[in-house]
Each structure stands twice: as structure tokens, then as C-alpha cells.
Symmetry: C2
DNA sequence: AGTGAAAAAGCATGCCC
DNA sequence: GGGCATGCTTTTTCACT
């Protein structure tokens, strides 16, 4: 599917604030409300837009610590199995399987360091993990807004 | 600010789909529309809800490759400066400053490997970076939905 | 804090260019 | 693909418990 500049503009606006009204978006991209709606509907149908979500301040909910744990495991370990175990933990924010070393990167959000320790132990215990290394996040910046308009 | 179970339920519902209507949420949490609205307004005012955004399939937009680059730099390097340079790149998804080794972790999204190479060079060039190590993501899982209700 | 109902705003649809 | 006019849904506000 081909996206033109207007589609990218609309995506950028929704990325900034998904609750903008159609008329707000329409005036910013100089189109009618109906035209904008048609474009957004199309973006959803084609799967470019996966969904809408709310951005939450996790620290305010008591999940104050973020960490990344690098996992290394033996060649016989089933990668899918690792992904399954880690994703089953509610503390897991994301899991990335990696080409090379380490084999996987798990992004965790925990209450405190004791909790982190506990979760790392849990991962180590449930698999043939040959090694872990955990990076504790001091500060995080994340692009919640705006995305480059074209590849 | 204190959140009760209903607040967490509402957050979970919005996290799943931020475009649910108030009446939909109201019926699921067994409250009136007005009561739900007041709670959501409060969550926004207190900063628990930071905003609303759209989830995009980046691969469909041509940003098919994800990578993490670990940065190490000399003790004299200003961390804020690194963060500033990396966040200025549109390819940067997030930047984490780390306690220990490495000093920072940059999450990138790029078109292809040549593009990745280019961005890593850019980071290395603009700072007193003593070393980088890049992890190329083969597959990613991320929790787009549901969050543990209480810490 | 919660409720219910009325007013205002925004959305969805059909039909036109 | 874009625009306009219409009825319908959702949000917002307000008086009251």
C-alpha cells in the first residue's frame, strides 16, 4: 500500500495525540473531515494503524525501575520457549531476540531492586540460560511523538 | 494520589483500546458514564495518563529493522549531550542511560543495514564514544496490552 | 464519589462532484 | 479521491443524592 505525504502527516498527528478530532486533523492537513476519516479508515484496514493506546506514567503506578536483561543460552535452547516464559511475566515490557551475542534482550519494569532480582532469578531458573547481564536504567527518553515522514 | 481497583481496570481497558467510548467502559466497570469520565479526567490531571497515541506497524512504513546500540564513553563525556544527539535522530526510538557498563542503550529503527551503519557512524562521530556494540533484533514481542493492576 | 438527563460536539453515512 | 448535508453517537456539563 502506498502512503502519501498527507497520510504521514495524519499519522504524525495521531501519534502526538490519538484523541485529536477529525475536524482538528482535517484543518491541519487542509482536507475535509470526510476525507481524513476515509484515510484513517484505510490506514486501519491495511494494518498500518495497529491500534490506539494510552501512555501511562509507570513510576506513578509504583513501577519505578526499568532494566534490560541480556540473556545467553546454549545452542539447543528453544528461543520460542524463552520468549514465552518471559512474556508471561507481567513485569516484561518487551522481549527482543537478537542476532549474535546476547541471544535475547528482555525489557523489564519492576517496583524495586529486590523485585528485579527476583524476576532475573525466575528467568534463570526456568531455562538453560548460560548467562545474564542486567542493565539498570538511570534515565529514559522515548519518542512518544512524531515519526519520520518517509523511509 | 491513590488509585483504586476501578482506576486500574479503566487504565487496563484504555491500554487495550484507547478509543473505547465512555459508555463502553462504564458498563464494563459497572459505573455511570459521568463517573468514568471524572476518573479519567483525574488520571489525566494527576499525570498518570500522559497521553494517547496510535500504534503503528513500522515495518509497513518501511522501517523494517530494529537494533539496540550499547554506548561506552569516557568519564568526561557529558551524558546529557549524548542523549541530545541521539534523540535528535529521527531513527532513535528511545535512549536509556545505564548504571554501569555500557553507559547508554539506544534503540533504533532503520530502513536497512546500510542505514543502520550510517546511524551508528553518526553517533560515533559526534562524541567521545570509546566503544559501541550493536544488537540487531531478529524478532520482537511487546506488551501493547494489559498492565499488572497493582504494584 | 456517584447518578441521570440535557446540551454541545463530534462522528458516520449517503450522495454529490 | 474529495466535499457537503444529514441523522446518530459520544462527550460534556450541571443539578442533585
Amino acid at each position: 500500500m502506498e502512503l502519501d505525504g498527507t497520510d504521514h502527516e495524519i499519522l504524525a498527528l495521531l501519534r502526538e495525540d490519538a484523541r485529536r478530532t477529525l475536524s482538528d486533523i482535517a484543518s491541519r492537513v487542509s482536507l475535509s473531515v470526510a476525507a481524513v476519516k476515509r484515510r484513517i479508515d484505510r490506514l486501519q484496514e491495511t494494518g498500518v494503524i495497529l491500534g490506539y493506546t494510552v501512555q501511562v506514567d509507570h513510576a506513578k503506578l509504583g513501577w519505578g525501575i526499568e532494566a534490560f536483561t541480556e540473556l545467553r543460552f546454549s545452542g539447543t535452547t528453544n528461543v520460542a520457549e524463552i520468549v514465552q516464559t518471559t512474556t508471561a511475566m507481567p513485569e516484561t515490557q518487551a522481549v527482543f531476540t537478537i542476532a549474535g551475542d546476547p541471544d535475547a534482550l528482555v525489557w523489564l519494569r519492576v517496583r524495586d531492586l529486590a523485585h528485579l532480582q527476583d524476576r532475573i532469578d525466575e528467568i534463570r531458573r526456568s531455562h538453560r540460560v548460560t548467562g545474564t547481564k542486567t542493565l539498570i536504567v538511570l534515565d529514559a527518553w522515548s519518542r512518544e511523538r512524531q515519526w519520520p515522514s518517509a523511509p
